[in-house]
C-alpha cells in the first residue's frame, strides 16, 4: 500500500505544480493583456480614485473635483463651465475627454511620467501621483468680456497677445456646462443626448473648430500680399481698378457696398472695404503670391495645436483667376477659424512676426513645482515689417474714421477691419459679422491684444449684421479688458 500512497502523493504534487504554473501564467505572463482589457474596470477605478488636477485661469482654478463616494470616486466639476468650456472641454467618466482636458490628460490625471520623481519606486509601491495643474494663458477679464459680449448670440471670439502668441480669450456661444457630462450615470447620458441633438451645436468649439468665410477681414491678408509683392508701392496712390469689376474670364460683375471705389488708393479701398479693388489686387498678385502670404499667416496649416488641434483654415490654391478674385475678398473657398483671423491681426500688430498661439503657460506638480513650461515658440515672418507698419496705419484709419468706429478705445490706438460674409445658396443665409482688431494702450510700447470676433446670429435683421455694428463692440470690450491696468 505504501507504494500506492506514494503514487497518489506524486499525483498531488502534480496538481500543486499545475496550480503554481497556471497562477504564474495568469499573474505574470498574461497579466498585461488582462490588465489592458477594456472591460477591466480597474483602470477607470484607479483613474478616478483621486481628484483630477485643475486647470487654472489667472491663478484661480476653473475646475474642481467632487467626491461621489461611488466606485469611480472623483468627478469633475467646473466653475463658470459654459464660459470656459471652449478652453477646458469636458472630462467625463463615460464619454472621454476633449480639448485641454484631453491634451493635458496625462498631467491632470497624474499618469504623465514627468510627474514621477522616482519612476522605479512608484512601480514597486504602485503609488499613483496626484494630478498636476495646468496653468493657462487665458485672461479672466477678457474671457468674461467676450462671453458677456456675445451673450445669447451665436458666435465666437479668439484673442491673442501678439508679441507672444498667448491666447487671452477663447469663447464660443451657445455653450454648455461640461460638468453635466462628468459622471457616468443617467443624468450624464441624458445631457449627452440632449447636447448632441441640439441644432445649435453647443459642444462645437467655434473659436477653433469651425471655419467661416472671413469676408472683408481677409482683405488684410490680400493687402499684405499686394504690399509684399510690390503690386502696391504707395498706399495713397490710386490703383487702376474699375468699379464694378468684371471677374477675369467670366461674365460676373463684382460691385461694392460703398461708393468711391473706382481707382481708389489702397488706404481708401481698405477704409471703405472696396471689393473691386481687393479682388483685382489678388488677381494682380497671382495665386502663388496670395497662397504664400496666406500660408505665412497660418492658412492651409493642418498641424496647428494649441495644444489641442485647430481646424485648418483654407485658402484654395487650385483656382482660376475669377475664383482667385473672389478668394482674395474672403469668399469662394476661403475659410478661416476665428483663431486664424486673430492670428492675422496679431501678425500685423507684432510687426509682421507671427507667434504661434498657445493656451498652456505651464504645467505644475500639485505642490506648484514646475513640470514643463510650454512658453512662446519661435515666430515666423508673415510679412515684411514695413508692410506690417503700413497695414497698422490702414487698420487704425478703419477704426478712427471708417467702418470700425465702434471699436475705438480712448487712450489707446486701435486698428481693425470689419467683415460681412455672405454664405449659403445664392447668399441667402444671414451674413456672418466679423471684426478683427488689435489695440495698443498709449502707455504701452507694443500692442497688447489682437482679437477676432464672429457673430452668426440668424435672428438679427440683415441690416444690423455688420462687422462694425455687432462684432466691433464685442472686440472693444475684450480689448479694454486686456488693456485695463
Amino acid at each position: 500500500m505504501t507504494r500506492y500512497i506514494r503514487h497518489a502523493a506524486a499525483f498531488c504534487v502534480l496538481l500543486l505544480a499545475a496550480l503554481l504554473v497556471n497562477a504564474a501564467r495568469v499573474q505574470v505572463v498574461q497579466a498585461p493583456s488582462y490588465q489592458s482589457n477594456p472591460a477591466n474596470r480597474r483602470h477607470d477605478i484607479a483613474r478616478y480614485h483621486q481628484p483630477r488636477g485643475d486647470i487654472l485661469v489667472g491663478g484661480e482654478p476653473v475646475t474642481g473635483s467632487r467626491n461621489t463616494g461611488e466606485h469611480l470616486r472623483w468627478e469633475r466639476t467646473y466653475h463658470d463651465g459654459p464660459m470656459y468650456a471652449p478652453v477646458t472641454g469636458f472630462a467625463s467618466q463615460a464619454y472621454g475627454t476633449t480639448l485641454l482636458e484631453d491634451s493635458e490628460d496625462g498631467v491632470l490625471s497624474g499618469t504623465d511620467p514627468v510627474l514621477l520623481p522616482l519612476a522605479l519606486w512608484n512601480g514597486f509601491t504602485r503609488a499613483r501621483n496626484a494630478g498636476g495643474d495646468v496653468v493657462t494663458t487665458v485672461d479672466r477679464a477678457a474671457q468674461r468680456a467676450a462671453y458677456r459680449g456675445l451673450g445669447a448670440r451665436k458666435g465666437a471670439v479668439a484673442a491673442i497677445e501678439p508679441a507672444t502668441g498667448r491666447i487671452l480669450a477663447l469663447v464660443s456661444t451657445p455653450s454648455y456646462d461640461p460638468g453635466l457630462l462628468s459622471g457616468n450615470g443617467a443624468g450624464a447620458a441624458r445631457s449627452w443626448r440632449r447636447l448632441n441633438r441640439d441644432a445649435d451645436q453647443p459642444m462645437l468649439n467655434r473659436a477653433v473648430r469651425q471655419t467661416y468665410p472671413p469676408g472683408s477681414t481677409f482683405k488684410v491678408v490680400t493687402a499684405a500680399a499686394a504690399l509684399d509683392a510690390g503690386v502696391i508701392g504707395d498706399v495713397d496712390a490710386p490703383t487702376r481698378s474699375p468699379a464694378p469689376y468684371r471677374l477675369p474670364g467670366a461674365s460676373t460683375r463684382l460691385s461694392n457696398e460703398s461708393k468711391g471705389c473706382q481707382d481708389a488708393s489702397l488706404r481708401v479701398a481698405f477704409e471703405r472695404s472696396c471689393n473691386t479693388v481687393f479682388a483685382k489686387l489678388g488677381v494682380d498678385v497671382g495665386v502663388t503670391g496670395m497662397a504664400a502670404t496666406a500660408a505665412g499667416f497660418g492658412f492651409n496649416d493642418g498641424g496647428l495645436r494649441i495644444p489641442f488641434a485647430v481646424s485648418p483654415s483654407t485658402f484654395d490654391t487650385s483656382v482660376d483667376r475669377a475664383q482667385l478674385a473672389l478668394s482674395s475678398i474672403g469668399q469662394y473657398n476661403t475659410r478661416a477659424t476665428p483663431l486664424q483671423m486673430a492670428m492675422v491681426a496679431a501678425a500685423v500688430a507684432n510687426g509682421g512676426q507671427l507667434r504661434p498661439p498657445y493656451l498652456v503657460e505651464r504645467t505644475t506638480r500639485p505642490g506648484g513645482g514646475m513640470v514643463a513650461a510650454a512658453g512662446s515658440r519661435p515666430g515666423r515672418r508673415a510679412m515684411q515689417p514695413s508692410t506690417a507698419a503700413r497695414l497698422r496705419e490702414l487698420m487704425t484709419d478703419v477704426v478712427r474714421r471708417g467702418t470700425g468706429a465702434n471699436a475705438a478705445i480712448p487712450g489707446a490706438t486701435v486698428g481693425g477691419k470689419t467683415g460681412t460674409a455672405q454664405h449659403g445658396l445664392g447668399n441667402s443665409g444671414t451674413p456672418y459679422a466679423w471684426f478683427v482688431a488689435w489695440a495698443q494702450a498709449d502707455r504701452d510700447l507694443e500692442p497688447k491684444v489682437a482679437v477676432a470676433v464672429v457673430v452668426e446670429d440668424a435672428s438679427a435683421h440683415r441690416g444690423d449684421i455688420t462687422g462694425g455694428g455687432v462684432a466691433a463692440p464685442i472686440a472693444k470690450a475684450v480689448m479694454e479688458a486686456v488693456l485695463a491696468p
Partner: protein, 455 residues
Amino acid sequence: MTKAGTGISVAAADPPASTVRLPRRRGMELALIVVAVLLSVFGYCDVGLAGAGGVPPGAAGYGAGLGVLALVAHVAVRLRAPYADPLLLPIAVLLNGLGLVLIYRLDLETPGDRAAPAQLVWSTLGVALFIVVVLLLRDHRLLQRYTYVSVVAALALLTLPILFPAVNGARIWLRIAGFSIQPGEFAKVLLAVFFAAYLAANRSALAYAGRRVWGLRLPTGRVLGPVVAVWLVSVGVLVLERDLGTSLLFFGLFVVLLYIATGRTGWIAVGLLLAVLGAVAVGRLEPHVHSRAEDWLHPFASIEAGQGPSQVAQSLFAFAEGGVLGTGLGLGHSVLIGFAAKSDFILATAGEELGLAGLSAIFLLYALLVERGYRAGLALRDPFGRLLAVGLASLVALQVFVIAGGVTGLIPLTGMAMPFLAQGGSSVVTNWAIVALLIRVSDSARGQYDGRVAP
C-alpha cells in the same frame, strides 16, 4: 514524502529506539500557533490601515478571539493527542485567520452585507467540534464500527437539500431558522470514513479478482457494483443538485482510495472512463454545466458579446492585477467579481492583494497540510487508518485543486469553498473536523513508536 518513509523505516527496523522517548513537539506547535495568530492580526491591521487609514477598532478583539480559540485547541491536543503532528493545527489556524482577514477586507466594500462576524462564529463552532473530536475520539479505529452508519448518514445529508428550494441555481443548501447549512460538506467526511472502512475491509477481493482485457486487469462485476453505485450517486448529486464540484470531489476521492487500496491501474482506467462518460453526458444534458465549460474555454466571450465581463473574466482580471507582489491588502478591487466574491472566488482577492507570492504561499500551506496527512498515512500500520489519513488529505488536495483551478482558469469553474479561506459555515466546521481527524491519526502514527501500546 519519500523522506518520510526512510525516517520511519529506520525507527521500525530498530526496536530499541522505541524505548527512547520521542519528542512530542508541543512547544513547537505552540510557537507556530503564536506566529499564525500574529500573522493574521497583522493582516487584519493592514486591511484597516489601507482602507480606513487606521488600525481597525476590533483588531485586539479579533486577535484575542483567534488566539484563545487556537490556544484552547492546542490545550486539547496537548492533553489527548500529545504525539500529533505539530504543523497541522498552526496551518489550520493560519488559513482560518487569513480567511477571516480576507472576508473582513471584502466586508469593507459591501457595508450592507457583513460576513466576517458570522464566519468568526462558525470558526468558533469549528474549533469546538475539533476539540470535541480530539477529546472524545480516543482512537480512529473506533470509526470503523460505523462504516454503514456513515454512508447512510452521508447519503441522507446529500439528498436532503433536494427537498429545499434552490439557491442561486444549486440545491445544496438547507435553510433552517435563518441559518444556511450545506449538508454536502459534512457528507464529505462521512464518505471518506466509509470509503476508508469499506476499502480496508474489501481490498483483497477488489485487488485479486477479475480478468485481463487488452493487458489491463479489469475488476469483476460483483465488486464493480459499489463503484458503479458511488458513480451513480455522484452523477445524481450533480444532476439533481447541480453541484459539479462536490460530485467531482466524491468521485475523485473514491478513485484515489480505490487505487491506493488495491494498487490496480485498472481502477484508474475505469474511473477515468466513467468520469469522461459522466462529464460528456451531463455536459450535453445540463445547460448549467455546459455554460461552465464554455466560460472556461472562452472566458472573455461575454465581453466580446457586449454583456460585460463574466465572473471568471473578473477573477482573471483580479489575479492579473496582483502580479508578483500584489496590490497590498485592502487595495485591490476583487469585489468587482460580485456574487460569491467572499466564497468561491475568495482566492481572487488573495491573488490580487497578495500577488503570486502570497498565492503560492497559500498553495504551499495547503500542500503542507496534505503532505502531513500523507505522512501520517504512511506511518500508520492499520489499513483503515492509512486510507483514512490519505483520504482526508486527498479530500483537501482535490478540493483546493478543483476550486483554485476553477478561479484561475485552469479547469472549468465549479462552485466549491476554498478550505478554511472561503465564507461558509458548513465548510469551516467540516474542515476543522478533517483537521481533528488528521490530528488523531497522526497522533496514533507517531505515538505507536513511543513504546506505548496503542489503545
